[in-house]
Point group: D2
Chain length 215, copies 4
């Protein structure tokens, strides 16, 4: 039985909903073979996001952590490959912080790879008929921030833990008021995340299949 | 009881599925208050598409016709405003025809307005949380072709009939192999079309709300 | 010697520049073989735009009129195929008018074709290494409005006159403050319009080459 | 007098031109105050690209290296922030190599920051009216490969050297045959790169201004 923690951010940037949180709440109580699932809400606030995550990890001792965030403008579920040690906020977070070129962790390395089987997750989501791809950037806002913080925690304190970050599109109800923006139905997002959890919990070694971008 | 005919095209352009046809088949048998619904498949072939539609109208005498087609690359359900009297095919149709700048109907007017309540349909679909908008162009392929043919039939032979065209996005399963393309879940497309049928069947006069584009 | 009038709109929608006007001013005084060129600024105002254009046509008696407007978000020079008889303004014009579903000309036909050789213009601009394509919609704002007004003037009062509408992208200086938006250098826009004028002045019959869209 | 090396890749992916190489050749001989400029062509081949670059650095001992590559689909000049230690080729390079998830440098760190003043470069290019932005990913093809290789060379052998990577859009002539793709005039690309060289050669400390992305 693998203990898996899935987190979602609260709404930010003027949105009243965050599809990540909505999806994570729907996941709660999902029956996934061999998985004991727990979910949690994380504040979209630099610093506090990592503090909350660290407390959860210390208390719950999960085997696996998947953080989920909204990627407005993307049309598919994107599994992030790499977290970088920078906060560079184009918009303020939920407490008004707007750091520019600050390290997530002072003295940390430039970047960490995701320790999730990202290629296997993408392939399994696609095989379920849901668009997904590997992403080479999680941005420089709170999503990348928590992804880096999680990765640093794994590297420095919990070497058995594995974890990473998945971005999801707007919900259709958000796209209604953002004409032209792509979206994904909540049921599909939840199914995609369920597949990600199952894949992460059962995959020892990632697949050697392409997931790159020319630029 | 309004008799409503909804049509969908068979797959084209190398696709093995046409979301329009998939959605129209799902609609079959839907219970919509006050509506007797019938659906039909239309060949993605210049000329034959209109012939098939005309036979259906002659035989079935519907009150309302909604033709549905795939708009790859669009992220929402788009209700078409205007049909133009031109065939200009960027790709061949399903019988290899590729007309360039031929009239749909020799001697017909340059264009016809949709006789559906397009603004009301868009508003009602949006209120259900599904992205939708008015479109100012149905292209110059078989979708516009049948839309013009239907409109000409209404103008010249069936003045009581009303009808128009609705474009829908790729299905998620199509976007899986077209990375970066937006898509919409089949259940949402079907719900959107159901709302369109109900709205068209019950709206006498369209709403005076915006649906334009700067260019 | 063909007398050619080229018009550009003044800035709108909060912009301090309109690339159409900037380009049209640069065109002024251009030496194009066999062409006597005149240019004019048109207000981005429903109604007044057409009044100004009609006065110019009555006074100057050009052989050819090309109206030019900005199409923010498009990446190439787009030669419009069809003008439709509707004003449906998503944003207010420069005098605060925001008509919804009003005809451009009460009692006019649904649409007019451009009387420019649109395919030849696109081909010649492309052969000069400048991106261009046929567009099936000029929107429902003042651009389409003047295009329809011009076409109606041709159809009802000046049967010898030919004319149409060309949309151009943002200038690079506009895209600087709209990250991610495509743009085109002013020199290229001016060259493209010069080619359009020359082509329109020397082409009797348009080319039968593709310029359509699937949707 | 700062010695500056600027490199461009040869064409790849079926293109007959690479805007990076075209622009770099145009730069040759440019007079930039306080700068001795040299340029070089680099093969779009994994491994060989870095070998060629290392030879150039060893022989020429530049103070500054800027590698330039094509980013088809982007509409502005993008100054890359970070190079990652992975080769994951979606398409083959010019010798048919298609590595999947191979490190650029076995045993190298996950990533390196650009040692160019990326924010100052972006600001100065924008002030010249040319669209530019910071990019958080250089992809996983040969562009990122040489960027990582250069950064590793700096970190391990040439601590005084500074360098980084700049992506540029398609040229207009390329977009002619890729309808809908954004492009940038060669003169603007060359001006942008000239500004980048001058800025890099004269800026001791980068500006603390925003350049991030939400995701």
């Amino acid at each position: 039985m693998k203990k898996v923690l899935v987190t979602g951010f609260d709404p930010f940037g003027g949105e009243s909903v965050n599809p990540a949180l909505a999806a994570v709440r729907k996941l709660e109580g999902a029956q996934i073979a061999g998985v004991a699932l727990m979910t949690s809400e994380i504040p979209t606030v630099f610093g506090k996001a990592i503090i909350k995550l660290r407390e959860l990890v210390e208390r719950e001792r999960p085997d696996l952590v998947i953080c989920v965030g909204q990627a407005g403008g993307r049309s598919d579920i994107t599994v992030e490959r790499v977290a970088i040690n920078i906060d560079d906020a184009r918009i303020p977070d939920n407490e008004g912080n707007r750091p520019i070129d600050q390290p997530v962790i002072e003295g940390g390395p430039v970047a960490y790879w995701s320790t999730l089987p990202i290629k296997a997750i993408v392939q399994n989501i696609r095989e379920a008929g849901i668009p997904a791809s590997v992403s080479q950037t999680a941005g420089t806002f709170v999503c990348n921030h928590i992804f880096y913080g999680l990765s640093h925690l794994i590297a420095t304190a919990y070497p058995q833990l594995r974890g990473g970050f998945i971005h999801i599109p707007f919900l259709p109800e958000q796209a209604v008021v953002k004409p032209g923006q792509p979206s994904m139905a909540l049921a599909q997002i939840v199914e995609g995340l369920t597949i990600a959890v199952r894949t992460a919990a059962t995959t020892e070694e990632d697949l050697a299949i392409g997931g790159g971008q020319v630029c």
